[in-house]
């Protein structure tokens, strides 16, 4: 009995010693250095987030799309570097302590920040898999817009209506990501025309091609296509082409639509004003 009590006391004493071994002496920790490292890291992150996008804006399309993805990568590097410098100031680093820290961190993330942790991991994996990059036009769920930044936890996109949407990185794992340009400076745009079925379809096709080739926004080294399909209410034409700069996609589609309508109306071709329900 006495032996058992002694052994329990020894275990408790050893545990207390291990805990005190894990951390540096609280009085001896260099708090000034920690604050300095945090400040430097904070400033570095802000600088990277501020300077790189500004520099990228002045570069041509391809270079811009190469530089922008460096922002989240550099941010991760800065955060990891800061942690790597702070941890040795607070913790006695030996094999035993490292295992203890890793275990405790894992438990904390696993229980308290399960989704947050998943998003962070998904964000890091996304940097490698490149499901989307800054400058890409993506659709996730109901949100569509240009990727402005890849954060550790969430992606920020700006919709065509200038609304910023934060999408947790976890969504990249659980939902389909529709990426229109996938790192390229341009992507396919479509202008729709809904016409009364009685018209010269060959003429319309040629005129819509002319409309596309006349647009100054058109990227001339990419294909242009007109797709026609008969519908119960008329004929649906889709004019497909690539703009020179993907950022001008709405101006491009508008230009195609306006010029297309002008040309079709001038020829006396009727546009369908509203689709009608087909009789069953």
């Amino acid at each position: 009995m006495q032996n058992t009590q002694q052994s329990a006391q020894q275990s408790a004493q050893q545990a207390a010693e291990r805990a005190s071994d894990l951390l540096q002496d609280l009085g001896a920790i260099d708090y000034l250095s920690i604050v300095a490292i945090l400040l430097v890291a904070l400033v570095a992150v802000q600088l990277v987030q501020w300077i790189l996008p500004k520099v990228a804006e002045r570069l041509p399309g391809r270079l811009r799309l190469l530089l922008l993805p460096a922002v989240p990568v550099l941010r991760v590097v800065i955060v990891v570097a800061a942690l790597a410098n702070i941890v040795p100031l607070v913790v006695n680093l030996n094999q035993e302590n490292l295992l203890a820290i890793a275990g405790a961190t894992g438990l904390a993330i696993g229980f308290a920040f399960k989704d947050y942790g998943s998003s962070i991991v998904a964000g890091i994996v996304n940097l490698y898999e490149r499901a989307c990059r800054p400058g890409d036009w993506i659709k996730v769920g109901d949100a569509y817009g240009e990727v402005k930044s890849l954060g550790l936890r969430a992606i920020k996109i700006v919709t065509p209506d200038d609304t910023t949407v934060s999408i947790p990185n976890l969504k990249i794992w659980t939902e389909n990501v529709f990426n229109e340009n996938d790192g390229q400076p341009t992507h396919l745009c479509v202008a729709d025309f809904h016409l009364h079925p009685e018209h010269d379809a060959a003429w319309v096709r040629r005129k819509l091609l002319d409309v596309a080739y006349a647009s100054p926004y058109l990227r001339l080294d990419r294909p242009v296509a007109v797709i026609a399909a008969e519908k119960p209410w008329g004929t649906h034409y889709r004019l497909k082409a690539y703009p020179i700069d993907g950022r001008a996609q709405f101006q491009f589609t508008t230009d195609l639509t306006i010029r297309g309508k002008q040309s079709l109306l001038a020829r006396g071709i009727q546009l369908v004003t509203a689709p009608v329900a087909a009789a069953p």
Partner: protein, 393 residues
């Protein structure tokens, strides 16, 4: 065989070798371009200052206008069979400043060939039926030269029908025709309607290379300068060529830069060469030539590194790039026609043209706006970087 007779050479467009710039220049240009992009966005004027000294008269004496009768002679040689009664259509494609227009027009004048003028923009937008009827009539009467095919269409939804009508006429074998088209328009038309099936394989005046230009420059210096002429660098007064010294390596290096930057386009190369001759030492009194009492006739040459050629600022708006591309595709346009192409107000077009003019990129002559020869290399590079379709020359 004289230097002039070897100068102009006609070859298939696909065989044209565009002279390249020295590697060091490519690096320097890249760094300067990046620096310009990152600099103050407000700056539109060309950077740096150059001391302009030589008067226009002197510059033109050492670098006179091209004599296009020689270019016409080269064309005549390669088109001999067609000119002597051959049938069908022949096509000549040339860069915007290659002098092809002048050479073809000179050839037409010398051989008394009928020439079809370009239709007016309003006519083009209505299908150009009257113009096409005139061309059909001319074709039935004898060989016809259609100079400036780039002005026989407009990049507008209603602006292609006239050109299609012309191609239909030629495809039907209605007569003999020599067509001349500018290379930017040709690149565009190849995407739009594959005209080579009717017009055949294009020929072109080969771009100038360093050797050709050196021969021409030395011949002009010999004609215009005295026996004691010496070319000196305007910055340190170092003599790089003189009539008494057979060594032209210093000059040849300079001309390598000139032909490379000018892509061998005759008018661009000439404009850059004139720019090189347009400088003088900042303090002529202290120049080594004066200090050593050298009384030989001196022509000053601005060193390549200090030459301030126009550059395209990164501050240009998208509409400005559209304007530059349209001017190159159509070989120059009036402001009103530009506004119709872009479906914008005349005020917007004028504002864009004013911005481009203040940057030294475009100029106006008789109401027609054009990219300036001196600015052409920078404009071409910039449009290519921004994703616009460029010519092959």
């Amino acid at each position: 065989m004289s230097e002039e007779s070897q100068f102009w050479r006609v070859c298939p467009l696909g065989d044209c070798q565009v002279p390249s710039e020295p590697t060091t220049e490519a690096v320097r240009k890249g760094v300067r371009s990046l620096w310009r992009r990152l600099r103050d966005r407000r700056a539109l004027e060309p950077e740096g200052k150059i001391v302009r000294g030589a008067d226009r008269e002197t510059v033109r004496r050492f670098a006179p206008d091209w004599d296009w009768s020689k270019g016409a002679a080269a064309l005549e040689d390669s088109l001999g069979e067609w000119l002597d009664g051959g049938s069908g259509v022949r096509l000549i494609v040339g860069g915007p400043f290659s002098g092809t227009v002048a050479a073809v027009q000179t050839l037409a004048r010398e051989r008394s060939l009928e020439t079809a003028g370009a239709p007016l923009p309003d006519e083009l937008l209505e299908g150009g039926k009257k113009w096409l009827a005139g061309v059909e009539q001319q074709l039935s009467e004898g060989p016809l030269v259609v100079s400036r095919l780039e002005r026989c269409f407009l990049r507008h939804p209603d602006g292609f029908d006239c050109l299609r009508g012309l191609l239909d006429l030629l495809a039907a074998g209605r007569g003999r025709c020599l067509v001349q088209c500018q290379s930017w328009a040709w690149a565009f038309l190849q995407r739009l309607m594959a005209p080579e099936s009717v017009l055949g394989t294009p020929l072109a005046l080969a771009p100038l290379d360093r050797e050709s230009l050196s021969r021409w420059v030395l011949a002009r210096l010999a004609e215009a300068g005295s026996e004691r002429l010496v070319l000196r660098r305007a910055d340190d007064g170092e003599a790089i060529w003189s009539r008494s010294d057979a060594d032209a390596s210093g000059l040849s290096e300079m001309l390598h830069h000139v032909t490379g930057r000018g892509r061998g386009q005759a008018e661009v190369v000439l404009a850059i060469w004139r720019e090189c001759l347009g400088g003088r030492p900042e303090d002529e009194e202290k120049a080594p030539a004066a200090a050593t009492g050298d009384d030989r006739e001196t022509a000053w040459l601005t060193p390549w590194s200090r030459l301030d050629l126009p550059a395209v600022p990164s501050t240009l708006e998208r509409s400005d790039l559209f304007t530059l591309h349209a001017l190159l595709v159509h070989g120059g346009l009036r402001a009103g026609t530009l506004a119709r192409l872009f479906s914008v107000s005349a005020m917007e077009t004028n504002r864009s043209l004013a911005r481009l003019k203040s940057g030294g990129l475009v100029g106006e002559a008789d109401g027609c706006w054009q990219v300036l020869p001196l600015a052409y290399p920078a404009v071409r590079d910039h449009l290519g970087r921004e994703g616009f379709l460029r010519d092959s020359l």
